[in-house]
C-alpha cells in the first residue's frame, strides 16, 4: 500500500516537472526555428506559479467545479500511465480506462468553459468536441489492432511484451504508428489542429474567461494531459522503456518531433481537420487493422 502511494507521488512529481520543463524547451525550440533566442526553459514554471499568485474572477459554482473536475480527472489518469519501470497499478492500467478517464477532464473543462457564459468559450468547446471525434477514431482502430495482436489491453503488459519480444510496435505496425502520431498531434492540440484554442479568432477559445488561479490549474492540467497522451503513445508504439530514463528519452524524442512539425504549420478549420482525419488516417488505420487481424494474426 505504502509503495503504491509513494510511487504515485513520485509519478505525479515526475510528470509535472518533466512535462513543464519540456514545454519550456519546446518554446525554446520554436524560438530557434523563428531565429530568435526565446525564453529560458524554466519559463513555464514561472508562468504557472505566477498565475497561481494572481487574483481571479469566478462565474459561479459550475465554473469552479468544472475546473476541479478537469484537473482531478487528469491527475487520476496520470497515475495509470506506466513510466518505464515506475508502474503505480501493475495490472489495472487498462487503455480503455485511461482514454475514458481522460474524457472526464475534457467534460469538466467543457462544462466550466460553457458555464462562464462567454460565446467564444462555447464555440471553442464545440470545435474541441468535433475535432475529438475526428482524431479519436483512427487512434482507437489502430489500438484495436495492437490489443488483438498482443492479446492484452493493459499498458504495462504491452510495454513488457514489446521489450521482451525485442521488436517495438513501430517496426511491426509502421502504418499504425504513423496514424497514432498524427492523432497524437490532434490530441495535444498542436498547431495544425489547434482550432479550439485559436487566439486570434475566438480569443483562446475555452480559456477566455479563466484568470489567475484557474489559469494555473488549467496549465497544470494541460501539462498532465500532454504527459498522458505522449506516455500512451510511447508505451504503445515504442515499448515504454525498461528504465525511467529510457522512457523519458523516448518521450522527449516524440515531443521534439511534434513541436518541430507544429511550429511551421498553419491552422486547419474544424471541418477540414475532421475531413482530414476521416480520410487518410482512417483508411490507413483500417488497412493496418485488416493486416493485423486477418494476416498477421495473434502473437505466437
Amino acid at each position: 500500500m505504502i509503495i503504491t502511494i509513494l510511487s504515485a507521488i513520485a509519478l505525479l512529481i515526475l510528470a509535472f516537472a518533466y512535462t513543464v520543463t519540456l514545454e519550456g524547451i519546446a518554446r525554446k525550440i520554436e524560438a530557434r526555428i523563428h531565429r530568435r533566442c526565446g525564453p529560458p526553459f524554466w519559463q513555464n514554471f514561472i508562468d504557472i506559479f505566477k498565475s497561481l499568485t494572481k487574483h481571479s474572477i469566478s462565474h459561479g459554482f459550475i465554473f469552479d467545479f468544472g475546473v476541479l473536475m478537469a484537473l482531478g480527472g487528469t491527475i487520476a489518469t496520470v497515475l495509470f500511465i506506466p513510466a518505464g519501470n515506475l508502474v503505480v497499478f501493475p495490472g489495472l492500467d487498462n487503455v480503455f480506462v485511461i482514454i475514458y478517464l481522460l474524457a472526464i477532464g475534457l467534460l469538466g473543462m467543457a462544462m466550466s468553459a460553457v458555464g462562464s457564459g462567454n460565446p467564444n468559450a462555447s464555440i471553442g468547446i464545440g470545435r474541441a468536441l468535433t475535432q475529438m471525434l475526428g482524431y479519436e477514431l483512427p487512434f482507437m482502430i489502430v489500438l484495436l489492432g495492437v490489443f488483438f495482436h498482443f492479446r492484452t489491453s493493459s499498458l504495462s503488459e504491452l510495454a513488457v511484451l514489446q521489450n521482451s519480444g525485442g521488436t517495438y510496435n513501430v517496426l511491426i505496425m509502421p502504418i499504425g504508428a504513423v496514424v497514432g502520431f498524427v492523432s497524437l498531434m490532434g490530441m495535444l492540440g498542436k498547431k495544425p489542429f489547434d482550432t479550439f484554442i485559436a487566439p486570434a479568432e475566438i480569443a483562446s477559445g475555452p480559456l477566455v474567461e479563466y484568470s489567475g488561479k484557474y489559469l494555473g490549474l488549467l496549465m497544470t492540467q494541460h501539462a498532465f494531459g500532454t504527459f498522458i497522451e505522449i506516455g500512451l503513445f510511447v508505451n504503445l508504439f515504442l515499448g515504454g522503456g525498461k528504465t525511467i530514463w529510457e522512457f523519458l528519452l523516448k518521450f522527449f524524442l516524440v515531443y521534439f518531433l511534434a513541436v518541430i512539425i507544429s511550429s511551421i504549420m498553419p491552422r486547419f478549420r474544424v471541418e477540414q481537420a475532421v475531413k482530414f482525419y476521416w480520410k487518410w488516417p482512417l483508411i490507413l488505420s483500417f488497412i493496418q487493422v485488416v493486416i493485423v487481424v486477418f494476416i498477421m494474426g495473434r502473437r505466437v
Binding site: R27, C37, G38, P199, S204
Partner: protein, 179 residues
C-alpha cells in the same frame, strides 16, 4: 515606497516580473512597434513577455498612442476586466501630455488622470529598443514592489471615476451611435 515586502510577497513579485503577459489590445499608432519587438531582432519573449488574447489572462495593458473618448471607454472597461496585479504602460507623448493632438476636441491629454499608469515611454512612438528598455525598467519596478498602480486605483477609485465622468460623460454608455 514601502518596500519591506514579506518573503512570500518578494517571491511573488519575482515571479510576476519574469512572466508578464501583454494584452492584444492596441489602441493607437504605437501598435506597429510591437511586432518588431516580439520577432527575431529584439525578441521580447526572452523576458517572458508574450501576447495574451483576453484581459482576464493579461498582466500589462499597453496604451499605444492617442486616446479618443470612445477608445478611453474601452481601455477603462478592459482595465477593470483585468486581474489584480495589473500594470499599464503608456506609449508615446500622446499619453503623456496630448502629443500632436494636444488641441483636439476628441482626444484626452493626460492618461494617468483616468487610469493608473506604471510606466511611460517617451517618443512619438518609441522604437523597439526603447520599448525593451522600458519593459526592463518595469520588471525592476515590479521586483522592488513599486509598481502598485492597481492598488491606488482601488484606493482612490472615486477620484479616478470623477475624472472619467468629467471627460466622458458616462463610461458604460448605452446608445453610442444614437440608433
Amino acid at each position: 515606497m514601502n518596500n519591506e515586502q514579506t518573503a512570500w510577497e518578494r517571491v511573488a513579485n519575482m515571479l510576476r516580473a519574469r512572466s508578464l503577459w501583454m494584452l492584444y489590445y492596441c489602441t493607437g499608432c504605437g501598435a506597429i512597434e510591437l511586432p518588431p519587438t516580439m520577432t527575431a531582432r529584439f525578441d521580447m519573449e526572452r523576458f517572458g513577455i508574450g501576447p495574451m488574447a483576453t484581459p482576464r489572462q493579461a498582466d500589462i495593458l499597453l496604451v499605444t498612442g492617442y486616446l479618443s473618448t470612445k477608445t478611453l471607454r474601452r481601455v477603462i472597461y478592459s482595465y477593470e476586466q483585468m486581474q489584480a496585479p495589473k500594470y499599464i504602460v503608456g506609449f508615446g507623448s500622446c499619453t503623456i501630455n496630448g502629443g500632436i493632438y494636444y488641441d483636439s476636441y476628441a482626444t484626452i491629454n493626460r492618461l494617468d488622470l483616468y487610469v493608473p499608469v506604471d510606466l511611460y515611454l517617451a517618443g512619438c512612438m518609441p522604437r523597439p529598443e526603447a520599448i525593451v528598455n522600458g519593459f526592463k525598467n518595469l520588471m525592476d519596478k515590479i521586483d522592488q514592489g513599486e509598481a502598485t498602480g492597481w492598488k491606488d486605483y482601488e484606493a482612490n477609485y472615486e477620484w479616478y471615476r470623477k475624472n472619467q465622468i468629467d471627460a466622458l460623460g458616462e463610461v458604460y454608455i448605452h446608445d453610442e451611435f444614437h440608433e
